[in-house]
Amino acid sequence: MTTAGPERERHQPESHRRVYLRTLLWLAVLMGLKVAVVSAVMPRALTVGTLLVLMALKIYLIAAFFMHLRFERATLVYVALTPVILLIVLFFGVAPDFGAVFGR
C-alpha cells in the first residue's frame, strides 16, 4: 500500500542538509586556521597547544554532526568516548617512563 501525499510528508525525516554544509564550511575554516598557525611565528608551546585545540574541534564537528553523535543517545556517546579515554590513559601512563629513561 502506498501512503498518501500529506501522510508521506508527515513521515519524511528531517533533512540535515544545512547542518552538513555548515559543518563542512567550519571544517574548511579550521583547516585554514591550522595552516596559518603553522606558518605563523609563535612560541612552540603555543603553536602545539593551538593545533591540538583546533584538532579537537574538528574531531568534535565530524563526530557530532557527520557521525550524528549529537543526535544519538548518551549511552552511544559513552561508547564512542571509550577509546579516547583509553588513549589518554595509555599515553600518560607510558610517557613518564619514557621521560625517565630518555631524560625528557
Binding site: P13, T23, A28, K34, V37, I59, I62, F66, R73, F102
Partner: protein, 207 residues
C-alpha cells in the same frame, strides 16, 4: 500450526532476549559498525601513542611540513574533508528517499577517496625517491620514516577499503538496493576515516 500461533510462540522469546528495551537506541547493524570503529580507533590510538613515544625518545625529529610540503598534505586533507561532506549529503539524500542525490553524492565521495589515494601514492613515491625507507632515511632518524609509512599506510588501507566499500554501495544504490540505514552505516565508516586523518594530519605533519 497456524501463522498466528507461530507468531505467539516467537514473541515471548524475542522479548526475553531483548530485555524489553534498546539501551543504545540504534539498529544492531549500526551498533556493530560503532563497535568495529571503536576497536579500530584503539588500533590507531596505539599507533599514534607509539609515534608520540618515538618522538619523545628521539633527540631530534625532522620537520614534516618542510619535507612533505604543506600544500600537498593540505590538499589531501581538503579532498578527504570534502568527500566526507559529500558522504553526509548522500546519507541525507538516502533518508529523504532522493535516489538521484544519493547516487550523485556517493559518486563524489568515491571520487574524493580515489583522489586522496592518488595524492598519497604521489607523496609516497616522492618520499621514497628522496631516499626514505622503512628503517632508514636521509635525516638520520629511522623512526621518522618508519612511523610515516606505518601510520599513513594503515590509514591508506582504510581509505582503499572505504573506496571499495562505497563503490559496492554505489552499485547497489544504482540498482535501488541500498537502504537509508545501510547508507548511514557506510557513512559512519567513511567519516571515521576522515576523523582519523584529522588526527594524523595534526600530530604527524603539523606538530
Amino acid at each position: 500450526m497456524s501463522s498466528l500461533e507461530a507468531t505467539e510462540t516467537r514473541q515471548p522469546v524475542a522479548s526475553e532476549w531483548s530485555g524489553g528495551r534498546a539501551p543504545f537506541g540504534v539498529s544492531t547493524y549500526k551498533f556493530g559498525m560503532w563497535l568495529f570503529l571503536m576497536a579500530d580507533a584503539m588500533t590507531f590510538g596505539g599507533l599514534l601513542a607509539g609515534y608520540g613515544m618515538a618522538r619523545l625518545a628521539s633527540a631530534t625529529w625532522p620537520r614534516a611540513t618542510e619535507i612533505f610540503g604543506i600544500e600537498l598534505v593540505g590538499l589531501m586533507t581538503l579532498v578527504l574533508i570534502a568527500s566526507s561532506g559529500a558522504m553526509a549529503l548522500a546519507v541525507d539524500g538516502a533518508k529523504q528517499g532522493d535516489r538521484t542525490r544519493l547516487i550523485r553524492f556517493l559518486t563524489l565521495t568515491v571520487l574524493g577517496g580515489a583522489t586522496f589515494l592518488g595524492l598519497q601514492a604521489y607523496e609516497w613515491s616522492r618520499f621514497t625517491a628522496g631516499g626514505a625507507g622503512l628503517a632508514s632515511n636521509p635525516w638520520g632518524v629511522p623512526l621518522f620514516s618508519g612511523s610515516f609509512f606505518v601510520i599513513t599506510g594503515f590509514h591508506g588501507l582504510h581509505v582503499l577499503s572505504g573506496v571499495i566499500y562505497l563503490t559496492v554501495a554505489l552499485l547497489m544504490a544504482r540498482r535501488g538496493g541500498l537502504t537509508a540505514g545501510g547508507t548511514e552505516i557506510a557513512g559512519l565508516y567513511w567519516h571515521f576515516v576522515d576523523l582519523v586523518w584529522v588526527a594524523i594530519f595534526t600530530l604527524f605533519y603539523l606538530i
